[in-house]
Amino acid sequence: MLALCCLAAHLLGQNPNYQPDVNWHAPTEAASRPNPLSSRPEVAAGGRKLFIRNCVECQGKDGAGIEKEHSAALQLPIVQQQSDGVLFWKITNENTGRGMPSFSKLPELQRWQIVLYIRTLK
């Protein structure tokens, strides 16, 4: 059954073999930052647009991750259990070893919008 799931995920372009980078940690202060848009769920639609524009190439259309790109399926608990602040920090700061660029060029609020959209993928 597990093998079938892995095969299906692989065929769908997902990344069942994702392993988090244990050396990529957000500082405590950054990890504890709350999402200033958390009370405005309607702006997640803008986050989806930004996600499609900036993230789909590596994360896949529905955030399912792409093995070739070493990207995680964003629905996984290993991603969703991270705080908003951690996700924001990871979007802002690159992880070149895994091919993750920095998106600090995006305005802060737009990065928070992407975090908000990632939460809708649960």
Binding site: V43, A45, R48
Partner: protein
């Protein structure tokens, strides 16, 4: 009739150009600073130096859900200043061209921007006014994102500077060098 017509004579410039590109994001502002050094091997002159710095900000910091091209978030407004710093034969701003240029950038599609920038002379050595229209395209090659010109947020682009102290001080359009996406 026996003299060469310079326009018809093939001439190849051999030039080495290097740029130190510094960029930082402060809240929603991007601040970029460049230091440029260029050596023209075709002429017996020293290494020319130039500078550029600029600041820019999107017109809207929150993206709308609508798939629109004329939304404010797709426009970036800023200003740049650039000019020459002389050369190894004489470093400094004396007799060099300097410009200030407002910049408007529009994200035409997910892969391309239209960038318009009128440059205004600040010194007598500069051309009084000129316009730069730039359409960088982004493409994805073998898993690595690249652009046919550099990242506009990081490099203050298309700098008509003249580091030397030549009298004509004509603008030199420096092409952008390929660069990765975000820095």
């Amino acid at each position: 009739m026996s003299s060469h017509n310079a326009l018809l004579t093939p001439e190849h410039d051999h030039e080495l150009e290097s740029k130190l590109i510094l960029s930082s994001d402060y809240h929603d502002w991007n601040i970029s600073e460049n230091f440029i050094a260029a050596k023209n091997f075709s002429q017996s002159e020293g290494v020319e130096f130039g500078y550029a710095f600029g600041a820019s900000r999107p017109l809207a910091t929150l993206a709308t859900g609508a798939n629109c091209r004329f939304c404010r978030e797709n426009f970036i407004l800023g200003a740049e200043m650039y000019g020459g710093l002389g050369s190894t034969l004489g470093f400094g701003v004396h007799d060099t061209a300097h410009y200030i240029a407002p910049v408007l950038s529009w994200m035409v599609s997910d892969n391309s921007n239209l960038r318009f920038s009128p440059g205004f002379a600040l010194t007598h050595e500069s051309n009084s006014v000129f316009f730069v229209l730039d359409i960088p395209m982004k493409s994805r090659i073998s898993g690595a994102e690249s652009r046919n010109s550099s990242d506009g947020n990081r490099e203050v682009d298309h700098l008509p500077w003249d580091g030397s102290r030549r009298d004509h001080a004509g603008p030199l359009l420096f092409g952008r060098t390929p660069a990765g996406a975000e820095s």
